[in-house]
């Protein structure tokens, strides 16, 4: 080798290769670290999403007992997919409240008629203001809120049957 400098590009590339290979081998960590865990929920009061039922206010989530808060919408297809899992959580005795985002009462009523109603209270968040202040950026999302209004767990996306255990555990931990 007359000019060792010519090896430099190869060395730089090898470094890239090792880093990228390590990164691939380590597996992709898709967990989005929640920034709201440990934060208190904002103060809000939402009117009922379905006529004749009760809406949700922040005070309802500070009764001393933990609750789940599900953010959904009738127009959101994945929300229908997670409905059986919410029913299952409800059957296990976990109280769930919900916020319907950018929705209409008649659509929410139809959604509940189609998929069942695991919710004790459903508030209507017409302009997504409450959703955003909760730190939620999409539907569906589910929060575990302890009895003092502190967010203990945030589940982003659909609750698949495998996720039920994780939510039950988070609920138990919040007690």
């Amino acid at each position: 080798m007359k000019r060792p400098i010519l090896l430099l590009p190869l060395a730089v590339f090898a470094l890239f290769l090792v880093t990228a290979g390590w990164r691939l081998a380590a597996g992709r960590d898709d967990t989005i670290r929640s920034r709201v865990i440990g934060q208190p929920i904002p103060a809000f009061a939402l009117g009922p999403a379905v006529p004749g039922r009760i809406g949700v206010a922040s005070g309802d989530l500070m009764t001393g007992k933990p609750r789940l808060l599900n953010v959904f919408a009738s127009w959101c297809v994945p929300c229908g997919v997670e409905a059986p899992q919410l029913m299952e959580l409800n059957r296990r005795g976990i109280p769930i409240d919900a916020i319907a985002v950018r929705d209409r009462p008649e659509d929410v009523a139809r959604f509940l008629a189609d998929y069942g109603n695991p919710f004790q209270r459903i508030g209507l968040d017409r302009d997504t203001r409450v959703q955003i202040s909760l730190g939620s950026s999409g539907v569906p999302e589910t929060f575990v809120i302890d009895g003092h209004g502190i967010i203990r767990h945030q589940h982003i996306g659909v609750i698949s049957p495998e996720d039920v255990g994780e939510l039950v555990a988070a609920y138990e931990a919040a007690r």
Binding site: M1, K2, R3, L6, L7, P9, L10, F13, A14, F16, L17, T19, A20, G21, W22, R23, L24, G27, R28, R33, W75, C76, V77, R102, R126, D127
Partner: protein
Amino acid sequence: MMAEAGLAALWIAAALCLLQLCAGVSASLGEGQVLRPMIRPVAIAQGALAALSFLLLIQLFLVTDLSVKLVAANSHSAKPWLYKFAGTWGNHEGSMLLWVAVLAIAGAAVAAFERRVSERTLIATLAAQAAIGLGFYGFLLIASNPFERLNPAPLEGNGLNPLLQDPGLALHPPTLYLGYVGISVAFSFAVGALVTRDVGPLFARAMRSWVLGAWVFLTLGITAGSYWAYYELGWGGWWFWDPVENASLMPWLAATALLHSATVLATRGGLRVWTIMLAVIAFSMSMIGTFLVRSGILTSVHSFAVDPRRGLFILILLGLYIGGALTLFALRAGTIREGSTFEPISREGGLVTNNVFLSAILGVVVIGTLYPLGLEAATGEKLSVGAPYFNAAAGPLALALMAIMAAGPLLKWRRDRLQELARRIWLPMALAAATLVALLLLAPGIGLLPLLGLTLALGTAAASIAPLWKRNLRRTPLFIWGMVIAHLGIAVTIAGMASASAFTKETLVAARLGETVEVGPYALRFEGVEPLAGPNWTAIEARLVATRGGGSPMLMKPQARMFNSPVTETTEADIATLPAGQLYTVLGREDDQGRWQLRLWWKPFVTFIWLGGAMVALGGFLSLIGRLGREQRPKAEKL
């Protein structure tokens, strides 16, 4: 039947590719001389079959054959035909097939048309092209078969991501790929020349026209992609420093440097090792970009169909190809004889400085793009690098590069004198100084980068026309015109960027019906909203009447669209292009008091960004036909 034919064509093309590689290697080693005559025809047949396979996939999408998994997953029978067509490459498998098809067609074109380099170098080049091809055929056939069947076939497809349902999808990926993958030819040429140690002006001239061709498409693809993002995403920005955007910018920067260094090699025989290095880097950047996109290793708005196993497959290919080429480079480059030398103040000196700055910008972009990866590997910390870093680091370098671009074409080859240069460039410099003073007086408080950007853009625009000064315009060779127009295009683009970043006015309001909102010199009256139905979407469309002073009113109709399959909302901005800039309107949501969110921008001269991009591509194209015409002429005289 059609899917099976497509798959068969792909397998046969892969087999021909293997044959091309083996025959090429054995002929290069000197043993398989009898195989030599078959290499060119095999390369052409391989290109034709890969193209056929791609055309068959397009046909499957056009007829919406839902028994093909890829079609069912990414198309829908109710989609307009243009999006069925363009949907072919709006997914992982289809876009990889396009990738491979372009690679094979580029190799076929070299086999069919390249007569300038020595036959030995050409055969080594085609063998290198086949080696790259083989890996990617393997990737397609093993890990991403686009023709896989689905049994039973579903009744309806899943539909295409609505953001992609836009004419931009028909234009942007194919042109980008032609450039992005077409640059593979430079890589193969470099490997071929390293194998045969035949790095001379003739080789540079041959490689330069192929690079130029790919570079024109790459320029067009980036420009089209930038405009597409600008109007489709509804964010009003034209470049987001997204990893995937950077993945197309990196090969462009390397290819631009390569074009200029190849000119030194072609004209003066210098910069041999450096030119080979750049040729290897340019396509390596394309491959690394493909890896970054396909492995999902970096988060980007472009990541679709992310699969780590696919990432590993491409990473292994990268290791083989780039590692192999760089090893060959390390072994052979030391034996390449350098050509003639030159003085620092000379055309060569200017081109070298150009290369230094382009490489520095490339370095800035590479570091910014890969930094999150490296940091996470080292400390486990996650972060993303955004516009503040890129603008601050690449901006000043780009401006310095532009100053060099102004002076470079006015320098003489071999040696020149600064006084001479000053005599040629005083007028553009005076113009730049006048612009600077005018801007400081008329637009106090303007940012430093936009200020210098506009100043340099005007000076450089004037300087780039200077090579035409005192020339007989009719007898000026086409490649000079090409250079002038491309350099002018860069100045126009920079002027557009500087103007858009310095003078853009933005208004975000919640407006009631009948209310009037002002943005920049325009007043927009909000006349109403109405529902609207398209072939596979419904929308709410706003009517805004825009007037400037006492001028005639313009109707603007931005939409908020709701697509049926898959269910997604998109904003369709309405943009009015006027001589002095663009009025950009976006409709948001209705609030509970019946007010509508409106986002309005007035962007003076923003269109210059893409106009300049198109001029750069046109310049490259003129330069290409000018060079080719020049090479053809002596032959024609002989006949």
